[in-house]
C-alpha cells in the first residue's frame, strides 16, 4: 500500500517538476565555490591573460600584434550571448575549431574538463558591471 502510494506520488512529482533540473544547472554557474574560482583564476592567469589581459578585456601584452584582436571577455553583451557550453567549447577546440580566428589555440589537450569548467566560471566573474560603471 505504502509502496503504491510512493510510486503514485513520485509520478505526480516527476511530472510536476519535469523542468526543474535544467533550470537549476544553469543557475549553478552563478555560485562557484571559492576553491573553484581560485583554480579558475590560476588557469586564466597562466594561459589566457597573456593575450586576453588580466581583466579579460582583450588587452594582454601580446594582444597588439594579433589580428583579429583577442576577444573582450568582460563585455556584458558577449557574456550574455555566449553560453557556458559555447565558451567551454571555444576553449577546448580553439578559434579554428569553432570557426573563428586560428590565433586562439585549442586547449583541450592541455587543460582537462574540470580546469576548463573552472576557467569558464572565472570568466563569468570578469563581466563588467555596467550598472556600476554608469
Amino acid at each position: 500500500m505504502k509502496r503504491l502510494l510512493v510510486s503514485a506520488l513520485s509520478i505526480v512529482l516527476a511530472a510536476a517538476c519535469h523542468r526543474a533540473p535544467r533550470a537549476t544547472r544553469a543557475a549553478m554557474s552563478n555560485r562557484p565555490s571559492l576553491y573553484e574560482r581560485q583554480i579558475g583564476k590560476q588557469v586564466f592567469q597562466t594561459y589566457c591573460a597573456g593575450c586576453h589581459g588580466d581583466t579579460g578585456q582583450g588587452d594582454g601584452f601580446n594582444a597588439f600584434n594579433l589580428d583579429p584582436h583577442p576577444r573582450d571577455l568582460s563585455d556584458p553583451a558577449f557574456q550574455k550571448k555566449t553560453s557556458d557550453a559555447d565558451l567551454a567549447d571555444a576553449i577546448r577546440r580553439g578559434g579554428a575549431g569553432v570557426g573563428l580566428s586560428s590565433l586562439m589555440p585549442p586547449w583541450g589537450h592541455t587543460l582537462d574538463a574540470r580546469q576548463i569548467d573552472a576557467v569558464v566560471l572565472y570568466i563569468r566573474t570578469l563581466k563588467q558591471d555596467t550598472g556600476a560603471a554608469k
Binding site: 510512493v6 510510486s7 506520488l9 513520485s10 509520478i11 512529482l13 516527476a14 510536476a16 517538476c17 519535469h18 526543474a20 533540473p21 537549476t24 544547472r25 543557475a27 549553478m28 555560485r31 562557484p32 565555490s33 571559492l34 576553491y35 573553484e36 581560485q38 583554480i39 583564476k41 590560476q42 597562466t46 594561459y47 597573456g50 593575450c51 601584452f61 601580446n62 600584434n65 594579433l66 580553439g94 578559434g95 579554428a96 580566428s101 586560428s102 590565433l103 586562439m104 589555440p105 585549442p106 586547449w107 583541450g108 589537450h109 592541455t110 574540470r114 569548467d117
Partner: protein, 665 residues
C-alpha cells in the same frame, strides 16, 4: 495506606514517563528529518520514475565512509550530505549540494572520505559537533577561504598543483624566513640567506644602518628582513654593537684598497650595467625581478670601496649569496661603481649617511645582549645547532584547539585558530607586551596563503602511505672543475638542475643537452641574447671566458641529456621539402604565430623561432611539439594533440629556419 498507594501510582507513571524521554528524543534525531527532506527534494528533482523510487526507497540510517588505512577514520558526513556525488543535486540547498569536481572528487570519496581534506569530526551525527562549532572542538571544519590547507596535509611538496593558495603560502613562508625562528616538520635544515654582518663597519654608515633598522622595507622595498619595531635606544645599541664587530682583515684591506682607486668612467659603467642584466634579480626604481635588493639608491647604501671589492668577489663577502661572480675586469667594476655614484644614489639623503659610526663601548655591549634577546642571530649567524630555534615551534600548529591559544589582549578576535593565526601574522605584538615576533608587511591575500600553509601542519602526520612529496633526488649538480664554474656564475640561482636550483629562469638545465646544440650554447654562454624579450629576467652577460663556456657546453652536451629524446626524430628518413612545406602550412593553421616570431612576423609571448635550426635539436623539437607540458608543467604553449606525422612535418619546417645561410651538416 491509601495515600501511599496513590503516591506509588503517581511515581510509577512518572518513572515510566521519564524513562521514555530518551528513546523519544532518540527517535527524533536531526539526521532523520534531514534524510526525509533529501527524499523529498530528490523526488522533486527526479526525472524518471526509477530515480524517484530510488530516493523513496533509501532507508533512513546513519551512513559512513570507513577508511581503515587512514587512522581508522570514520566519516559520517554523508549521513546529512547525501547529495555529494549525486548529479541531480547540483545547486541543491545545503546540506545536499553536489560536491564540486576536483582532482580527488568524485572519484576518491571512498578512498579519503571527507574529514581528511575538510577537517571536522567525522564520527559526529549532529551538525554542531560535526562541524566543530563547539567550544573544545579538536578540528573544526576548515573555512572555505582556507580549504587548500586540507590538500597540504598529504601533499607535502612546496608546489601543489591545483592548490595555488597553499603553494603561495609555502613559498612565502620559505622566502620570509619563518623557519629560521620556528621549527617545523620538513624544514629542519632551513638556513636563512640573510647576509653575515662581519663587514658592516666598512660597508655602510651609522645613519643608513639606523634608517634600515627602524624600517627595512622603507629603505628597500625588496627587503626580506621584517620590522622589529625597535626603539631609538635599541637601534643605537644595535648599531654600536654591529659597528664594534671586528671586520675580517683581508676584506678590510680589499675594501680600503678599492676605496683608494682612481674614479671610473660612468658612461661605460651604465652600458655594462645594462648588459649585465642586473634587474634579472635586482630592481632599479622598482623595475626588475625583486628577489635581490633594490639598486636605485645603492651608492647611498654602501661605500664605494665596499661596492668595488664586493663586485670583484661577492663570494668572499658572503659565501651564501646568490649573486654570481661576474667576469668583470678591474676597470669594468670601477666604471660600474662610478655610474652608481653618479645616478644610483639617494639625493635626499644627508651627506653623512655613509659616515662610519663612532662606537660607544657601553652601548655596544648592551647591543650585543639585544642581538641575542631580539633574535637577530636566528637569521644572521650561521650556528651549528639547527635543532634549537628562537621562536616557538610550529609542530601541529594546524591542529591547535582554539581554547588552547593565548588570545591575550585581542578580545576583538573571534575565538578560532584561523583568526588567531591571521592576527599573529598581521600584528604579532598586539597580543601582549614583550612579544618578540617582528612585523612582516603581508597583504590580506598573502596572510590567507600563509594561514593556509600553517593550517596544513597537522599534529600527527598522515600515514606514510598517503603522503605525497617530491622525492629528494640525488643531486645532479656537478662537482670538480665544472662544479666550480657553475658555483662561480651561480647558475643555480636562476636555473634548476634536478630538484635543486632557483625558479627565475624558464629553462631548467636538467636535460639541456638534449635541447640545444652544443656550439650554439658555447657562444650563447659567452654572449647571451634575449630569448624571451617580454621577461625582465634574462640571461645576464656574465663575461664567461671562452674556455669556461666551452667546458660548460661540453659538460651539458654530455651529462644533461634525456635518453627518451631521440637524436634523429626522422629515424633515418630525412624529411622532404614537401614535408617542410606541409609543416609551414600547419604552422599557419595552428596559429603558432600568435606567440612566436619568425623573421619579423608574430607575437613574442614565446621565444622567436627564427634561429631554430642553429639553437634547437630536432629530436627535442619533435618531442616538445607532441607534449609541451612534459618538458615543464607550467609551459604555456598549448598541447595541440598533434599526430606523430604532423609533429614531424612541423619539426621539418622549423629545422629549415636559420638566420645563417650556410648549414652545419
Amino acid at each position: 495506606m491509601v495515600s501511599l498507594r496513590r503516591l506509588f501510582a503517581l511515581s510509577s507513571v512518572a518513572f515510566l514517563a521519564v524513562l521514555a524521554v530518551s528513546p523519544v528524543k532518540n527517535s527524533m534525531r536531526p539526521y532523520r528529518a534531514i534524510q526525509k527532506e533529501y527524499e523529498r527534494i530528490g523526488m522533486a528533482r527526479a526525472t524518471t520514475l526509477k530515480a524517484a523510487q530510488a530516493y523513496a526507497s533509501n532507508p533512513i540510517a546513519i551512513r559512513q565512509i570507513w577508511i581503515p588505512d587512514f587512522d581508522n577514520r570514520v566519516d559520517r558526513c554523508t549521513t546529512c550530505h547525501l547529495g555529494v556525488s549525486d548529479d541531480a543535486m547540483t545547486n541543491a540547498p545545503e546540506p545536499f549540494t553536489r560536491h564540486p569536481e576536483t582532482v580527488h572528487t568524485p572519484k576518491d570519496f571512498a578512498r579519503f572520505g571527507c574529514t581528511s581534506c575538510h577537517g571536522g569530526e567525522g564520527l559526529a551525527t549532529f551538525e554542531a559537533d560535526a562541524h566543530g562549532r563547539t567550544a573544545d572542538a579538536p578540528s573544526p571544519v576548515l573555512p572555505a577561504a582556507y580549504t587548500e590547507a586540507g590538500c597540504g596535509r598529504c601533499h607535502l611538496g612546496d608546489f601543489v598543483s591545483d592548490a595555488p593558495v597553499l603553494s603561495n603560502g609555502r613559498a612565502l613562508m620559505e622566502q620570509s624566513g619563518c623557519f629560521a625562528c620556528h621549527a617545523a616538520r620538513g624544514h629542519e635544515d632551513f638556513r636563512s640567506d640573510a647576509p653575515p654582518l662581519d663587514t658592516i663597519a666598512v660597508k655602510t654608515g651609522g645613519e643608513w644602518l639606523r634608517q634600515w633598522l627602524s624600517n627595512p622595507k622603507g629603505v628597500d622595498p625588496n627587503a626580506t628582513m621584517p620590522n622589529f619595531r625597535l626603539s631609538r635606544q635599541e637601534i643605537d645599541e644595535l648599531s654600536n654593537y654591529l659597528f664594534s664587530r671586528p671586520v675580517t682583515p683581508e676584506l678590510q684591506r680589499a675594501v680600503e684598497a678599492a676605496a683608494a682607486e682612481p674614479p671610473g668612467n660612468a658612461a661605460n659603467g651604465k652600458t655594462l650595467f645594462a648588459e649585465s642584466r642586473c634587474i634579472t634579480c635586482h630592481t632599479v626604481g622598482g623595475k626588475g625581478n625583486g628577489s635581490a635588493p633594490e639598486l636605485g639608491t645603492i651608492a647611498s647604501r654602501a661605500t664605494r670601496g665596499w661596492l668595488i671589492a664586493f663586485l670583484r668577489d661577492p663570494h668572499a663577502f658572503n659565501p651564501q649569496t646568490r649573486m654570481p661572480r661576474y667576469g668583470f675586469s678591474d676597470t669594468d667594476v670601477r666604471d660600474i661603481v662610478a655610474w652608481f655614484e653618479d645616478d644610483l644614489r639617494d639625493f635626499n639623503a644627508p651627506k653623512s649617511i655613509l659616515d662610519p659610526l663612532r662606537v660607544n663601548q657601553t652601548l655596544a655591549e648592551r647591543g650585543e645582549k639585544l642581538f641575542k634577546t631580539a633574535g637577530c642571530f636566528a637569521c644572521h649567524i650561521k650556528t651549528t645547532k639547527e635543532t634549537e630555534r628562537f621562536g616557538p615551534d610550529l609542530y601541529g600548529i594546524g591542529d591547535r584547539r582554539a581554547v588552547s591559544l593565548d588570545f591575550g589582549k585581542r578580545t576583538d578576535l573571534p575565538r578560532t585558530l584561523e583568526a588567531w593565526l591571521d592576527a599573529k601574522i598581521n600584528q604579532p605584538r598586539s597580543f601582549a607586551t614583550g612579544l618578540k615576533m617582528p612585523t612582516f608587511s603581508f597583504d590580506p591575500e598573502q596572510r590567507r596563503a600563509i594561514v593556509t600553509a600553517l593550517l596544513a601542519m597537522p599534529a600527527k602526520p598522515v600515514p606514510e602511505a598517503l603522503r605525497v612529496s617530491t622525492p629528494r633526488q640525488a643531486s645532479l649538480v656537478p662537482a670538480g672543475t665544472i662544479g666550480a664554474i657553475v658555483a662561480r656564475y651561480r647558475c643555480l640561482s636562476c636555473h634548476q638542475i634536478g630538484t635543486e636550483g632557483g625558479d627565475i629562469s624558464t629553462a631548467p638545465l636538467t636535460f639541456e643537452g638534449s635541447k640545444v646544440n652544443r656550439d650554439w650554447l658555447a657562444s650563447y654562454l659567452q654572449l647571451p641574447y634575449s630569448i624571451r624579450p617580454i621577461l625582465p629576467e634574462r640571461m645576464p652577460v656574465l663575461k664567461i671566458p671562452a674556455e669556461d663556456a666551452a667546458k660548460l657546453a661540453d659538460a651539458i652536451e654530455t651529462w644533461y641529456v634525456d635518453p627518451s629524446i631521440p637524436d634523429d626524430p626522422f629515424a633515418g628518413r630525412p624529411a622532404s621539402d614537401r614535408d617542410a612545406a606541409e609543416g609551414q602550412r600547419l604552422y599557419t593553421t595552428l596559429g603558432c604565430r600568435s606567440c612566436h616570431i619568425i623573421g619579423n612576423n608574430g607575437g613574442y609571448y614565446g621565444p622567436p623561432l627564427t634561429d631554430t635550426k642553429t639553437r634547437l635539436k630536432s629530436g627535442w623539437v619533435f618531442r616538445f611539439l607532441l607534449n609541451p607540458q612534459r618538458w615543464r608543467a607550467d609551459i604555456r604553449c598549448p598541447n595541440y594533440g598533434l599526430t606523430d606525422s604532423d609533429a614531424l612535418r612541423l619539426t621539418a619546417y622549423l629545422e629549415t629556419l636559420s638566420s645563417h645561410k650556410e648549414t652545419r651538416r
